[in-house]
């Protein structure tokens, strides 16, 4: 059983068996434009909710990616490090950024559901 949650900074986290997969939303990827570089956290790095976790750069600018939840990084997605365009091609699938062992499952409920995020986007 997995559930996907969203932040107001346009990250998503999909949690399965205590492991969260994090990426940026399609809205964020489209707004950034062509992604040309990503900087990903190393395994073992401890992240705080809302803390800087990764960097994503388009031709024009660099932006930070924040961790939606607290946890310890297990794995970074080498695919987007080698081929950053994957972030634009499939932002909410193959273009994920990193996986972490979520240390505070309760905090998930504070994040937006898919429907809530859709509503949030309408207000932007």
């Amino acid at each position: 059983m997995s559930e996907i949650r969203f932040t107001d900074q346009h990250e998503w986290v999909r949690v399965e068996n205590g492991v969260g997969t994090v990426g940026i939303t399609k809205y964020a990827a489209d707004s950034l434009g062509d992604v040309v570089y990503v900087e990903l956290p190393s395994a073992g790095k401890k992240l705080n909710p809302g803390g800087e976790a990764a960097v994503v750069e388009s031709v024009k600018a660099a932006s930070e990616v924040y961790s939606p939840v607290a946890g310890e990084v297990i794995e970074a997605n080498q695919v987007i490090a080698d081929e950053p365009a994957q972030v634009n091609a499939d932002p909410e699938g193959e273009g994920w950024f990193f996986r972490l062992r979520v240390s505070d499952m309760g905090a998930l409920s504070k994040l937006m559901t898919n429907d809530q995020y859709k509503e949030f986007l309408k207000g932007l």
Binding site: G33, D34, V36, Y37, E39, V55, E57, S58, V59, K60, A61, A62
Partner: protein, 378 residues
């Protein structure tokens, strides 16, 4: 709310067309301009290098410098620039700089001496959008009473850039195809008299075309209808000029920068050097002789991480030796590229430096400019 007030932004004669084409509009130099179209910056950039890209540059300042004859206008220009305008041939364009008394760069600009003897005493100037107001005052303060600066009113300016630009122009304006780079003429496109310059700021062959505002959208649509041509936004314009190693006002050059530091000494005419009579000549001639304390260079980061404008440049001991003035990803270069200023001791090609990206020093090298060879039609 700190969001820019879009009500106060100016619009070019092509504004409605940008919206129709899906342009993502951003404020730039007081104008509401397209940073990209749905094609995206990466593809827009590559398309310009492979075929042809059309840019709206109507925000730039179009001016006429008017005097009794070309010689009088050329002499007037030389009072505030280091160029040799007295030797500029008819129908020829020259890149030059407005210099203040301490040799600092007030603006960079293009000047055209008309091809047409009937336009004797009328030079055409194109200056940066963000410097128009400053330039107008600066130039007028330095003109003799018999030379005047006039705004070219109600005109759009578009740039058609890329290896297919000539082919496209030949279909609509045969005289344009006959021009060599840095030459200009006046010719009709679909019955509209346009000022056509073979010039640009992408490193590619191409044209800049000044069109009466009332006909601008129609002529632009005509060119966009050609299969080789795509509309290109400011994002790709910036990455193209960066790969071409070309300076951008407010980034590589400003009032505190001299032409020698900016590696633009070639704009100083040989006769002007001998006469030493241009603004800031004392400082500039001294820098030419003994070398400037810092110099504009090309920078190639070792890894994949781009270094943006404002990134500190350090030496092997972590001491600050310069700063990045433009930096990002070069789509044709296939990786990160940058330009910046370094202390002269580090300015030679191959010099090893480091860039402080997000607090971490990352290895980089000083490299010759441009990153992508120019392909002008001489």
């Amino acid at each position: 709310m700190n969001a820019p007030d879009t009500e106060t932004l100016r619009r070019t004669p092509l504004h409605a067309l940008h919206l129709e084409l899906g342009g993502k509009m951003v404020p730039f130099a007081g104008y509401d301009m397209p940073v990209q179209y749905p094609t995206g910056i990466l593809k827009e950039h590559l398309h310009t290098r492979e075929q042809a890209g059309l840019f709206d540059v109507s925000h730039m300042g179009q001016r006429f410098l008017v005097g009794i004859d070309d010689a009088a206008v050329a002499r007037a220009l030389e009072a505030f620039t280091p160029g040799d305008f007295q030797s500029l041939g008819r129908g020829r364009i020259r890149y030059s700089l407005l210099l203040n008394e301490s040799g600092g760069i007030v603006d960079d600009f293009m000047t055209t001496r008309s091809h047409d003897p009937d336009e004797d005493g009328r030079f055409f100037l194109v200056v940066n959008a963000g410097r128009k107001a400053v330039d107008d005052v600066f130039i007028r303060e330095r003109l003799p009473s018999n030379v005047t600066l006039e705004k070219a009113v109600d005109r759009a300016l578009i740039a058609l850039q890329g290896p297919m630009a000539e082919t496209v122009m030949a279909r609509h304006c045969p005289p344009a195809a006959a021009l060599s780079f840095m030459s200009a003429t006046v010719a009709d496109i679909d019955g509209v008299s346009c000022r056509i310059s073979r010039s640009g700021y992408t490193g590619e062959d191409g044209y800049e075309i000044s069109i009466p505002a009332s006909d601008a959208e129609r002529i632009t649509r005509l060119l966009l209808a050609e299969k080789e041509v795509l509309p290109i936004g400011l994002g790709a314009r910036d990455s193209l000029r960066l790969e071409a190693g070309l300076s951008l006002y407010g980034h590589e050059i400003d009032e505190g920068t001299s032409p020698v530091e900016a590696d633009l000494t070639w704009v100083i005419g040989k006769r002007r050097k001998m006469e030493r009579n241009f603004p800031g000549a004392t400082r500039i001639m001294d820098e030419l002789l003994s070398g400037p304390s810092r110099k504009r260079v090309g920078i190639l980061p070792d890894g994949k991480a781009p270094a943006r404008e404002g990134t500190e440049i350090v030496n092997g001991n972590g001491q600050r030796i310069g700063i990045v003035t433009s930096g990002g990803f070069g789509p044709s270069a296939g990786g990160p590229i940058a330009m910046g200023y370094v202390e002269s001791a580090f300015a030679q090609d191959g010099s090893e430096i480091a860039l402080m990206v997000r607090g971490t020093p990352r290895a980089a090298k000083v490299v010759p400019l441009p990153f992508i060879a120019h392909r002008y039609k001489r």
